[in-house]
């Protein structure tokens, strides 16, 4: 059973639909106990970092996430919230990954919206079978500025290179929307749902 964390940060339906298409069982929840009981957790998200973090604090999920040892996948804002902090609303985040979320400079059209390539930097079970340079669908105005390359699995170029896939132990994160990224997105989600750590 896979928990999809619902914390009022939009677009749960797309992730649920994608798991439905892949044939994995899931439960949409904001209950810490349920999250602790499932085998895997997907942490989607759209919207603002400040509102999202205060929602997580309200439900106590912010305390649960760092303790998890099961496969965990942050998507879009769900990735950004795994960093130390975010420039957006000057938010303290969950601190799984080192680094801070920064806004793209005003010299680039923001949001970074559309299909962009992911250059694979390291092997990860998440990207098994996905060709280097595959396109994924992005919509975001902030990115994780990682101080070290250690956790960067994939990078994407928008003016400069930023991390688009990260992994630290059981924590996986993607800046794009695999649930909206056609065949390669389907493969990535399938890899995650089939993980045995």
């Amino acid at each position: 059973m896979i928990a999809i964390i619902n914390y009022n940060a939009g677009n749960i339906a797309s992730v649920a639909n994608a798991l439905e298409r892949l044939g994995f069982e899931y439960i949409v929840t904001r209950d810490p106990k349920t999250i602790l009981r499932t085998d895997k957790v997907i942490f989607p998200g759209q919207g603002r970092a400040g509102a999202a973090m205060s929602e997580l604090r309200k439900t106590g999920i912010d305390k649960i996430i760092p303790q998890l040892t099961k496969p965990f996948l942050g998507i879009c804002l769900g990735m950004q919230l795994l960093a130390q902090c975010s420039e957006e609303d000057r938010t303290k985040c969950l601190g799984i990954f080192p680094g801070a979320c920064r806004k793209f400079p005003p010299t680039l059209k923001t949001p970074h919206l559309g299909w962009n390539k992911v250059a694979l930097k390291r092997n990860s079970p998440l990207t098994a079978g996905i060709p280097d340079g595959s396109y994924f669908y992005f919509v975001h105005s902030y990115y994780v500025d990682a101080p070290t390359a250690k956790q960067i699995i994939g990078e994407t170029s928008y003016g400069f290179d930023f991390p688009s896939i990260m992994q630290k132990d059981n924590f996986f994160a993607v800046q794009f929307h695999p649930e909206k990224s056609g065949e390669q997105g389907r493969r990535l989600l399938n890899n995650f749902c089939g993980l045995c750590l």
Partner: protein, 490 residues
């Protein structure tokens, strides 16, 4: 971002000062021409020259050396130091110098600035902002002025200056990093900002690049080999793989696609789900579904349809048509739509856009900009293009961006259905005034029209309906064509 090596000249020699202190220069070379040639050989694409004697005395002094450098390299130069009159500036600009740098005089003599811009264009004038303790320093940094940063921004904006060099004089020559906060202020104010003073390492340069700086002037760190020019240029070269998007648009009435299609082997050409699936498998990057039903009951049918589409299709899709309240938006998002296109309601109730961006995020707010040319400008139309307003399309687009719109879908009512090409002027006018992505719509007739929308119109995506439905252009072939013309497509 450009990395611009600096050559500071005193008495014909290449020197560096620390914090602008004239009494104690370090001489790096007696042969500044050789230094310039060497930078060119290392791959520099631009050089920054400063006539330090000129800056101190208030008129160009090292002219001979400057022109000798200009004659010996094949890359453009910018020169500053002591340029205080029109004739001094002209002498440089008419004799092989690409840009002149004005400091003191730009702020003290707006008439001169205007005359230079009028005759040479603002692309050839750069203003150097030297800040010491938050105040501007002039006259070779020996004097402090009383103008604040926001005073300077106002003056320069008014003069139509685009390019500035930002130096925190307390950091210059110390190799302890530039003033990032100060540089960011000018970038955010909309200038092409070049940071100078204190740039010491590759990480300084990478940070300036992430801030959106136009360039970094590097002196001491290059001379003392703290920064490798080639390596630094590679690190901050502009990289962008974002693909241009092709979007088919489906008009839906009472749950069926209208205008029809002639896809081969499609069981039901009017089924929005089947059609969408077919498009997603044949290269479409996104889909747009527009509900053209008039009645409330039909709207309910549309919502059910949206949830069907969301279950079946794994690429993003936008829905629109008659969206007028935040509840409409919530219902459609909950049904699984990725983005909501808002038309007339954005014009009649702009508060809706602000609320939608706040509640659901800018990423799902697409504004349909329906415009028609009138004289030299474009006016917004509402109610499906039937009702004219007095609103200027470009100003409207800017207002929507301010309110939180994440994308614009620009419809030219003049071109709709004509197949004479997108209205490139309209597209260009809008994209140059906003900083959010834009989808071109209306007028596509052939592949070349799409290419022009991207290259000349500055679009991020292009939309068409019947052209794709009737198979007049296949999306895959269109993408191959765009790729052959050096555009990035998926």
């Amino acid at each position: 971002m450009f990395i611009i090596p600096a050559i500071d000249i005193i008495n014909g020699k290449c020197v560096r000062l620390v914090q602008g202190n004239f009494s104690d220069p370090t001489v790096y070379s007696n042969n500044p021409i050789g230094v310039a040639k060497n930078f060119e050989k290392q791959g520099a694409v631009f050089l920054h020259l400063v006539d330090l004697d000129g800056a101190k005395s208030g008129f160009p002094v090292n002219l001979k050396t400057v022109f000798a450098i200009a004659n010996s390299v094949n890359i453009p130069l910018q020169i500053g130091g002591g340029i205080r009159s029109y004739d001094q500036a002209r002498r440089y600009l008419e004799n092989g110098i690409e840009k002149i740098i004005l400091s003191t005089v730009a702020l003290e003599n707006p008439k001169l600035l205007n005359r230079l811009i009028k005759n040479f264009g603002n692309s050839r004038i750069t203003v150097s902002i030297d800040i010491k303790d938050e105040k501007i320093a002039t006259r070779g940094w020996l004097k402090k002025d009383t103008k604040t940063i926001s005073d300077i921004v106002t003056i320069l904006k008014k003069a139509r200056i685009k390019s500035v060099i930002v130096t925190d004089t307390s950091k210059d020559g110390l190799l302890k990093g530039p003033n990032f906060v100060l540089t960011k202020q000018f970038i955010n104010a909309g200038f092409a900002a070049i940071a100078a003073g204190g740039v010491a390492s590759l990480s300084d340069i990478e940070e300036l690049n992430k801030l959106g700086a136009f360039g970094a002037i590097v002196g001491k760190a290059l001379y003392e080999k703290k920064i490798d020019l080639k390596k630094a240029q590679r690190a901050v070269a502009y990289r962008n793989n974002l693909a241009k998007r092709i979007i088919p648009c489906l008009d839906v009435e009472n749950g069926r696609v209208v205008k029809g299609t002639n896809f081969k082997n499609l069981r039901d050409a009017g089924d929005p789900v089947l059609l969408g699936k077919r498009y997603s498998e044949s290269g479409a990057d996104e889909l747009v579904y527009l509900d053209i039903s008039a009645t409330r009951e039909n709207r309910q049918t549309f919502r059910e349809l949206v949830s069907q589409i969301a279950k079946e299709i794994n690429i993003p899709f936008t829905v629109g048509g008659g969206v007028s309240t935040t509840e409409d938006i919530r219902d459609l998002l909950n049904a699984g739509a990725d983005k909501i296109s808002i038309g007339s309601a954005a014009v009649t109730n702009s508060q809706l856009i602000k609320e939608a961006a706040q509640y659901f995020g800018s990423q799902c707010v697409v504004i349909s900009v329906d415009a028609k040319k009138q004289g030299r400008s474009w006016k917004i139309y509402i109610n499906g293009g039937t009702k004219k307003t007095k609103i200027d399309a470009i100003k409207f687009s800017q207002q929507m961006e301010r309110l939180g719109a994440g994308e614009l879908l620009v419809n030219s009512l003049d071109r709709d259905g004509t197949k004479t090409g997108f209205d490139l002027e309209l597209l260009k006018g809008i994209t140059e005034s906003v900083n959010i992505p834009m989808i071109a719509s209306s007028g596509a007739g052939k592949k070349e029209d799409f290419l022009a929308a991207f290259t000349k119109g500055g679009c991020d995506a292009a939309l068409a309906a019947t052209l794709f439905h009737y198979g007049e252009i296949s999306i895959l072939e269109l993408k191959k064509y765009l790729q052959r013309n050096n555009l990035t497509v998926r």
